[in-house]
Subunit: 223 residues, 2 copies
């Protein structure tokens, strides 16, 4: 495995000079992880920034009755852990690998020093964090919608706009998607079936095709 992986491929470090990247590499610790491994959880003593070089990771919190709520999915080149870079504790979040992954770890203290050395880093971090904020606001929006069918329609529409294609693959398992938009797998199945019966979408496994965009928009708009 090549050390350059983490420093070169991630947006966080993208516009730093080569010599700076080399310095940062020295602080990085590599790890190979398999599915279902938990990489961090609340109240851990050792705080760290986790950069996902390749693979997939899900970030979730537990609701009061012990169910997972998926907060976001971390893809190649993204990271998690900036939340507790300033001495704040992590009270709520779990990070679980959902696919074979190569990760890079930087200790909180090391990263804090980096931040002070490289102002650009703080700006990058800020920029990326603002994006995360926006995602959370979006999830909030889904959750506030009463009718599940409408939540799904809204979700599909946003995904369509994101990918700019009428066919796409759901990035989450049904189970996790249900969780993300705040419903149960059963209801999700039934609602997808409804949308199919109405000829609005076609669904094969996790592949979605939007057949009738106007109707989908209507479904997202109506009550």
């Amino acid at each position: 495995m090549n050390n350059h992986l983490c420093v070169d491929n991630v947006p966080l470090f993208k516009d730093l000079a080569l010599e700076d990247k080399i310095k940062i590499e020295k602080l990085i610790q590599y790890q190979h992880l398999n599915k279902n491994e938990i990489i961090f959880q609340p109240y851990e003593n050792e705080k760290k920034l986790i950069i996902l070089a390749t693979g997939l990771m899900k970030i979730y919190q537990l609701t009061d009755d012990g169910k997972e709520q998926i907060i976001r999915i971390i893809n190649d080149g993204e990271y998690e852990g900036e939340n507790w870079l300033f001495g704040q504790d992590n009270f709520n979040l779990y990070g679980e690998i959902t696919d074979k992954s190569e990760i890079c770890i930087i200790k909180e203290t090391d990263f804090n020093q980096l931040l002070n050395q490289y102002p650009k880093l703080a700006l990058n971090l800020l920029k990326i964090n603002l994006q995360k904020t926006h995602e959370l606001e979006k999830q909030n929006k889904y959750l506030i919608i009463q009718k599940i069918e409408k939540r799904i329609a809204t979700y599909l529409l946003e995904t369509y706009h994101l990918k700019n294609k009428v066919t796409f693959k759901l990035p989450l398992k049904m189970k996790d998607l249900a969780n993300y938009i705040g419903t149960t797998p059963e209801t999700l199945t039934r609602k997808f079936k409804l949308l199919e019966q109405e000829q609005i979408i076609k669904k094969e496994k996790s592949n979605i095709e939007i057949l009738n965009l106007n109707q989908l928009i209507k479904t997202a708009d109506n009550n």
Copy 2:
């Protein structure tokens, strides 16, 4: 009205040198606003950072069927607008004054220059933004809870922990609180009444007293 208001009282600028503060003050434009005034909305041409010196402002987005969803409340010394400091557009958020307010405005371009001049500013901004992220995650958590009574109990518990007192004032009107936790004012009234009947809390106007903390915790835990 004193110009020092905005630069001195807000956490964003708190650890800058006096001379730097003076420079920043020159970029600031003051405004006095009354209740119900909308200070920014989606797709505006002029992007700006809005600092709330005194007063109250609510940030909300519209759901697809045109209802407000309150995202957060901005109190004295807080600000809003960092989301679009990096050329990003604001697609979804509205800012509305809910109480007589004094605000300070910095134009996007000016603030961007500041950011590059003062690395510390980026760090401050980042820190505060991480807090906002956390708040959004919390709101998400409320919304995912099925039973409204449990949502309220969870909300009350968190507020209790925040203030560290068994008596406190709800920071939102019933209407807005209902909105924030994703229900209707009617349901909220009924649920509060239930909690009162069970002698778990006492509510007088917007003043809450937790009478039975254990029971409140149980309500938040049970289904």
